[in-house]
Amino acid sequence: MNLGIKKMTDLSKDWRNDIYAVFKSLDISMVSHVPDAGHTPLINLCEKDNEIDVVTLTTEQDGVGLSCGAYAGGRKSALLMQSSGVGNCINALALPNICRIPFLTIVSMRGEWGEFVPWQVPMGLGTPKVLEAMDIKVFRADYEEEVGVTVDAAAKFAFNTNRSAAVLLSQKMIGAKQFKNG
């Protein structure tokens, strides 16, 4: 049984399309990421879109500065990362906070639902706490049908109120990664 992987590769009706639709409707034209399997179909959609700049980072924190610089230049962006990357961003999150720059991140969760790798658990448990500790408004989507409205709400919260917002995408929905040879 490998339901998680099956979900991740089925693009025919996929909640990543709903996130992409929100990006388009709100003119989000720069997407940065340290890749995670859960985000891969969305990254692929963005890379096919000539109106969206996709920037592959070496560390998630650089996506915070990149996003703020893009906003200063008049462009909206979003940072995609796995929960383990949230820990890399903490001090950088001071930048959108003190400058009241809208900041949006979409976080695929690990270490919570059927996790196979114990190393993912500490940051998985810590992710909502450290985001809230940095005054980030945390939204969460546990089911596929709520992804679009949740990302839309979070993006509007960020861009309408000049604050930071994160959407945590539940591992229950994404599917736990299975390690298998071959």
Binding site: M30, G65, A70, A72, G73, G74, L95
Partner: protein, 189 residues
């Protein structure tokens, strides 16, 4: 070794309308502010390591402007990966000037890695920013100005500076929201 404060002032003297200037945490912000208040300046006073990705985002968003980042060796060393990001998502309008005094002057002049074996020009080149060079003399002023305004970037210039404390020259406001809104008014207008 160059005396950084007057040299930064010289680079920013009679600046062109298409130049926007960002500075990283520490002395770099006091340096650019010492050249005179300008709506087209945005200076970091915190968030160490974020000035390079910020400048990249700005340069990508405003391809018709020239973006010049002044920052220090300490700020750069915290964000070496961002040099690889710049190299692989290149912007032709970005120049990064590293004012390399080989020390954390603001905290008591502890030596940085560039006082030891690390060469930021080589790091930048190895990261893929081919137009990277080191300046040890003010004689290279014209070369620097050509890079800032004319050359196809991204470029990174390491300016070797004296490690000495310089007078604090504060920006218009310490409130980041005020600073970024002033800066953005120079772009929207």
């Amino acid at each position: 070794m160059i005396d950084r404060r007057p040299f930064v002032q010289k680079i920013l003297k009679d600046r062109k309308d298409n130049l926007r200037v960002v500075s990283g945490i520490g002395t770099s912000t006091w340096d650019i502010m010492s050249a005179g208040d300008n709506l087209g300046n945005f200076g970091f006073i915190g968030a160490m390591g974020q000035s390079i990705p910020f400048a990249l985002g700005l340069a990508k968003a405003q391809p018709k402007l020239r973006v010049l980042l002044f920052t220090g060796d300490g700020d750069t060393l915290m964000s070496l990966g961002s040099l690889a990001t710049i190299a692989n998502h290149p912007v032709s309008n970005l120049t990064v000037i590293v004012l390399d005094n080989e020390s954390y002057v603001e905290t008591g002049s502890q030596p940085t890695a560039t006082a030891g074996k690390t060469d930021l020009e080589l790091v930048a080149k190895g990261s893929g920013i081919s137009n990277s060079y080191t300046v040890n003399s003010e004689d290279d002023y014209d070369k620097i100005m050509n890079t800032v305004y004319n050359e196809e970037g991204p470029s990174l210039i390491v300016i070797k500076c004296q490690a000495k404390a310089t007078p604090l020259v504060f920006p218009h406001s310490f409130d980041g929201a005020v600073s970024i809104n002033r800066f953005m008014s120079s772009i929207k207008g």
